[in-house]
Amino acid sequence: MEKQKKTQHTNLMICAGTGCVSCGSFGVRDALVKEIEKQDLSDEVLVATTGCNGFCAAGPLLVSYPDGVFYQKLQVEDVPFFVEEYLLKGRVVKKHLFVRPEDKEAIPAINDIGFFSNQLLVTLRNRGLIDPEIIDDYIARDGYMAAEKALNEMTPEEIIREVTEAGIRGRGGGGFPTGLKWKFCADASGSQKYILCNADEGDPGAFMDRSILEADPHAVLEGMIIGAKAIGAHQGYIYVRAEYPLAIERLETAIAQAEEYGLLGDDILGSGFDMKIELYHGAGAFVCGEETALMLSIQGQRGMPRPRPPFPAHKGLWNLPTVLNNVETWANIPQIIFRGSKWFNSLGTEKSTGTKVFALTGCVKNIGLIEVPMGVTLRSIVYDVGGGIPGKRRKLKAVQVGGPSGGCIPESLIDTPVDFESIVKTGAIVGSGGMVVMDDTSCMVDVAKFFLEFTVEESCGKCTPCREGTQQMLHILDRITLGKGRPEDIDTLITLSAMIKSSSLCGLGQTAPNPVETTIKYFREEYEAHIFEKRCPAKKCKALLKFEVVPELCKKCGLCFKACPSEAITWVKKSVAVIDIDKCTQCMNCYAVCKFDSII
């Protein structure tokens, strides 16, 4: 008992998002606990696991409080030294600090690191600060206060007015005003209504929803309770994809804890309001992220979209009025109710309020999960938060925003503000928040082909334009990258795109041509080079690669000769290298090693 009276003065917060877990953060946690016990520091130091910290590229991560020191790339074997130096002797362990790429300066404080200081956390406000599996941690940071306010002090109309005035728009991709959606459903007649959460995140490279669920599952539950009161529902479902085991585990824990506390179930907080939430595991079909398909899937039917209207607000799950919002939208709701709509709409731009979470990946130094206010420029995201493009010789070429439904925004438009309207003007969409940075080694035809392959694979096949149209487009792109492109191909792609967009049944088909359209719009010359010159400027499409040495640039060093695995290069000292095209396997080794750009 004596021991428990003491206050643990240091909290080590270990990132336990999927990224860090997969590089061993649980092992590091266990090693830390053991070592701390060994050094008899257990009643001084608390080791806690948190959700994703965001800086996924540098995991396993640890942040120490109250000092706010950020440690990266901690491995089990580093632990004894770390405990001795940092915890026993009070010295910062330099080896694990973040090093600023510009000046190689090691930065201890998390708030001094550009990746973190340039972010604004609303949805992810609890990341790294609470243990997502401890409900008291969530309550400590104002958790369930908004639900309490909504249930005991507000009428459904007041809740909807607050959400409408906040101006929040759906974070799942559509950008439809959330308050309006709720109002439609609240006005719909029907004694039984449903509240749904879309956690079927399927875009390649996107992990926003997963991170929110892993870091702060109670925020989503609380948002759904508030939404349920607003529309008069008493049953909620979270449709979460089965490929997110950690998110599912934390959600299950969160639901069980909330039920135990009476924050879910009958008579929540003595308000007389009842609400239940159940999980439904999605089986991995991309199209089930579409609302009507998702509802059919919950009903146990094949997940295929149906024409709208009737909209789900009137006829949704089991043909009853339903509100479906994305994970990120739900996680914003408690904040809006607790802090008020005025606070929320002071963030972001006039028409796109609040913040947005993005999964920043690709050719950028700081890969991870970020949250920024709506309206910041792409440049700020890529350079201030992302730290710029790795590699001295590489240049930014484009940013792919919005996944397979989005488009490629070229470097020339890098100052575009990231809000719903401005991004749509470029031909892309904000989408759910995937953001892939591409440097000059990316072939835009190849990128378009990659995303189209995905949509062709995931098209449910119900409507012809999407099923057949995207397939035909893919045939053409295939042909172009193999050097068999025809002069009319670009025009055919444009015509097909317009047809598919206007006649497809759901969002999947209506947006599937976006990657192709935007790459043609901004990088038409690359398509032309493939078709007319049978050349891939970014050296990605293997069938079009014919390497040769430019004798005037060759310094006769022989690096390419040594790098060639297929003996296609002949070279003797003091002579220009020669490449035998017939033997060349297009492995790119010689191209990569040549320091003088003399291989083209």
């Binding site: 009276k5 643990q8 409080y65 109250p66 002797k89 005991n152 506390y261 009476g262 003595g270």
Partner: protein, 127 residues
């Protein structure tokens, strides 16, 4: 666990306030115990334990406790630096359990530095 009422929600929040403050870096007073080899040898661990118990018993949630390396004055260890909001930091030397408790009561909680145990006001300038 019985079902929560509104008061319970507030109570849980209140009871975790110290942890939240610690993680957010919000504090009124910060106590740094110098835990170099010299400090530890001279008994810095006792000072640390005393403070942890004191904070725990008093249930203060706005005092944070941290350790640092040797302060360079090894002959006068154990040492600690107390920074109370609005006051200059004060370094205390030759500490033991009793002195630590007095400093905790009068300076950390009361806001009045204990001159008899202090060696200096202010800290070195660091670059």
């Amino acid at each position: 666990m019985a079902k929560l009422k509104i008061e319970d929600l507030r109570r849980i929040k209140e009871s975790k306030k110290g942890t939240v403050n610690l993680r957010e870096g919000v504090y009124r007073a910060k106590v740094t115990v110098h835990m170099g080899t010299c400090g530890i040898a001279a008994g810095a661990r006792t000072v640390m334990n005393t403070l942890m118990t004191a904070i725990g018993e008093k249930k203060t949630d706005d005092v944070i406790l941290t350790s640092s390396g040797c302060a360079g004055l090894c002959s006068q260890e154990p040492m600690m630096t107390v920074e109370v909001e609005g006051l200059s930091p004060v370094k205390y030397v030759y500490l033991d359990e009793e002195k630590t408790m007095k400093i905790f009561r009068e300076h950390v909680i009361g806001g009045k530095p204990v001159a008899e145990y202090a060696i200096t006001m202010g800290s070195e300038t660091t670059y």
